[in-house]
Symmetry: C2
Subunit: 229 residues, 2 copies
């Protein structure tokens, strides 16, 4: 179970999540699994960049199944972790699908940066750019706004000649050059989808990060301006 | 003369400004005066936090007046600097008054931080919070949104017991406590003004920073979503 709406970034803010299992674990093993799952789920979503003061994610294991305790380092524990990650990513994504005024579900996949933090910085800068978010709302393939947000992300260096951008597998920019096969009609079609995957390549490293976000719609402003009336 | 609209932060982005004088200066003196004036004018405004790739501020001195060259360290040069600062702040503020969809002109004055950078970080975090900006649009005295934005600003430390907030001289929070004289009617009245000064006190130091911004309105989203149609 998870509850959230607007102020959601980072670190689960204004979010409550409760996850239950009847399996049995040591507290250390369960905490380890939870911490990692939170990092790649609730700590990878943003609606408007605002955060709040309240957040909780609780994982309870009752042991009621009577099955033997799952210990770290076993195949069973690894399977549990994979399922937990998947469940929590599903819940985190559900919060974004239900975000204030959201009309689109956006996945930002950034790869090839000098570190995972660099990839995350680019993902969040693009995810929280009001101009990028209004372009998603308008189904407008204005990739210049995405590239401009990449360019202002707080990185120590960025080699524009290595940057690639694609929208739902439509390649727009490849190694810093406009893709010769790109057409605005193809971009328009990609942006018209309810779910859009933005792939941003920064270079050739193995680092990557994924962030999920929503668009900035007229309803977002209405909900947050008129919530008292 | 200055031109700007949306993507405006930081560092004058998507802005063109040309300033002319018929006085005479050495190039060094003129550059020094310009750099300082830019720092406290065009580099202190934000609309949506987005920046663009183009910006220019040009200061031309023709010497046509025939008056003697103004040299650094003289009273005349100091007077020129004061007038230049004032002119450039007026131009920078005019850009914010003319921002996309703007219905309010907001001045954020932050003081008492551990450094000027800390004050600036708080000012920009509040200025660019979508929740704060929609509250301004709605004339909604939701000071909790302001306090939450102060709390998430990237400072090394923040002592909530020293924080004060007031809106157009209506004190809301004083030394971390709700002001006992505050009423929502007074807050509502302050937020209804077209021009709102937000004073945020972080502590007792002499550091301070001022940033000017606009609200986040339905028209901001319309302008940036529908600009092609």
């Amino acid at each position: 179970m998870a509850k959230g709406a607007g102020m959601i970034r980072p670190n689960m803010a204004t979010m409550l999540s409760f996850i239950m299992t009847d399996a049995s674990f040591s507290q250390d093993a369960l905490q380890l699994a939870l911490n990692h799952a939170v990092d790649i789920s609730f700590n990878r979503i943003t609606v408007d960049g605002d955060t709040s003061t309240n957040d909780s994610c609780v994982l309870l294991a009752s042991g009621e199944s009577g099955a033997p305790q799952l210990s770290m380092g076993t195949a069973e524990f690894d399977t549990f972790k994979i399922e937990l990650n998947s469940l929590m990513q599903e819940l985190a994504q559900a919060i974004i699908r239900d975000a204030e005024g959201a009309t689109k579900f956006i996945t930002l996949r950034v790869s090839g940066g000098d570190s995972e933090d660099d990839c995350l910085a680019v993902a969040y800068t693009v995810a929280e750019s009001p101009l990028v978010k209004t372009a998603f709302f308008a189904s407008d393939p204005n990739w210049g706004r995405i590239l401009a947000a990449v360019g202002r992300a707080p990185l120590s260096k960025l080699d524009i000649r290595r940057v690639g951008i694609s929208l739902n597998d439509v390649s727009i920019v490849s190694r810093g050059e406009p893709d010769p096969d790109y057409t605005e009609a193809a971009g328009q079609l990609a942006m018209s989808a309810d779910e859009i995957i933005v792939d941003i390549v920064l270079g050739d490293s193995d680092h990557s990060a994924t962030v999920w976000t929503s668009d900035l719609s007229l309803d977002y402003v209405r909900i947050n301006a008129e919530y008292r009336s």
